[in-house]
């Protein structure tokens, strides 16, 4: 009988070869591998949702929790049932309140995440190199930190200026951006090229690591 580990490696090897066939174009083998992948992943996600979200937070409490908690769960139960109606094109309108709930909760979480998770921490981090007392306490050369902080701050402001598309109509009828914003936007392009270059290189290195891992996994199947 086949060893399950070997069988798993063999299936992985075959699927890897099928995916790599994409280098010759959109081949049937590539499509086969991708459709298996999507099917298995969708099934896996459904099972995880059932066992790790719906079972512990809805189904189990509905069966075992005290009366008050059980009655509170009627709300997600009703909304969830209405949401399921969206599968049918005739009854889809019934799912509106549940979608509204999800959109409202999502918007609130997005606002909180943007303010508490990004805006405040990033603004504090941007001001850090200009805190001379903290720099002295940590034994960092203040001139070097100030220079690096200034470059970073110019980069941040000019990158934001690059995405500012407000413009005014001039006396001659042409529409132009403010000259200061125009210069800042040009500098922003420079910083964006640097940032995207570093991101691209990072992604490329990760992809190369994955390629090496796949080739090693394929060779190890034959004992190399």
């Amino acid at each position: 009988m086949l060893n399950p580990e070997f069988l798993s490696s063999l299936v992985g090897f075959l699927l890897t070869v099928m995916v790599f066939s994409y280098l010759f174009g959109d081949t049937p083998l590539f499509r086969f591998a991708v459709h298996i992948f999507v099917g298995v992943t969708a099934g896996y996600v459904a099972v995880v949702m059932l066992y790790q979200v719906l079972w512990p937070y809805l189904i189990l409490p509905l069966a075992q929790a005290p009366m008050l908690e059980r009655s509170l769960l009627v709300v997600p139960l009703v909304l969830g049932t209405l949401l399921l109606m969206r599968i049918s094109s005739r009854l889809a309108w019934l799912g509106g309140p549940a979608v509204g709930y999800l959109v409202g909760a999502g918007a609130a979480v997005a606002i909180l995440g943007a303010v508490q998770g990004t805006l405040v921490p990033q603004l504090l981090a941007a001001s850090e190199p200009f805190d001379l007392i903290a720099l002295a306490e940590r034994g960092i050369n203040p001139l070097e930190a100030l220079f690096n902080g200034a470059v970073m701050l110019i980069g941040t402001i000019s990158t934001l200026a690059y995405f500012h598309f407000g413009a005014r109509r001039q006396r001659d009828g042409s529409i132009r951006r403010n000259p200061v914003v125009e210069i800042a936007s040009w500098m922003g392009k420079l910083f964006l090229a640097l940032a995207f270059g570093a991101l691209f290189a990072g992604v490329y290195l990760a992809a190369l690591t994955a390629l090496v891992e796949r080739v090693q996994a394929m060779l190890s199947l034959f004992g190399w």
């Binding site: 399950p4 599968i87 909760a105 609130a108 970073m152 290189a201 796949r214």
Partner: protein, 209 residues
């Protein structure tokens, strides 16, 4: 009655309650906010199932009508149903589910990522042919510099000036500045979009308005 009225009322009420409960230090409002978030999590789980149900319906109809790609759709349906069957009976930690992850999901994900190494290289080469301006040249110069400073080269090893000085300076000054600008831009965009939804200026509920 307009079809977007009820969903909009729900979105505004739920969003406002969650926001107020998370900002104001009032225990009652905080517990209401947490309860609403937990219900939202349950609804999100059901929404994922609705999405998977829709995926099933689309591919099932392609197989039934014998449209182009019906065989691919059939493959997807068989894989989906087999995984669901084993998973529902045995749970996500069932040995066969682990085999599905280790033999199918991980290898295909890693292979698709590995394909990116080739496609990104091709895209970088095409960029120079299609748009050889100063921004493209600067972008590719940084890519090459970053790669040279990140790996140990054959016969040469690491290039100290690149790995110890140039890359750390780039990373903590101009690259950090550009990335911070992007992050702040994305956060401001998310903030404005969230507020537009809560003020009912945007109504992304799927209905035709």
């Amino acid at each position: 009655m307009k079809s977007w009225l009820v969903p909009t009322a729900f979105a505004i009420a739920i969003g406002a309650l969650i926001l107020i409960g998370s900002i104001l230090p009032i225990p009652l409002l905080r517990s209401i906010s947490m309860q609403l978030l937990q219900w939202g999590m349950i609804l999100a789980g059901i929404a994922v199932l609705v999405g998977i149900g829709n995926l099933f319906a689309v591919h099932f109809s392609r197989v039934r009508r014998r449209q182009a790609g019906a065989l691919d759709s059939l493959t997807l349906l068989v894989a989906l149903l087999a995984t669901l069957f084993i998973g529902v009976l045995g749970g996500p930690s069932h040995p066969w589910m682990q085999v599905a992850v280790e033999a199918i999901i991980v290898p295909v994900e890693a292979s698709l990522m590995a394909l990116l190494a080739v496609t990104l290289l091709y895209a970088a080469m095409r960029l120079l042919r299609r748009r050889a301006d100063w921004m493209s040249i600067l972008f590719l110069a940084i890519v090459v510099l970053w790669l040279l400073s990140s790996v140990s080269l054959p016969f040469l090893g690491e290039i100290p000036i690149l790995s110890d000085w140039v890359r750390p300076w780039l990373l903590f000054s101009p690259v950090a500045g550009g990335l911070r600008g992007l992050l702040l831009g994305v956060a401001l965009g998310a903030l404005v979009t969230g507020l537009r939804v809560l003020f009912a200026l945007d109504r992304p509920y799927g209905e035709k308005t």
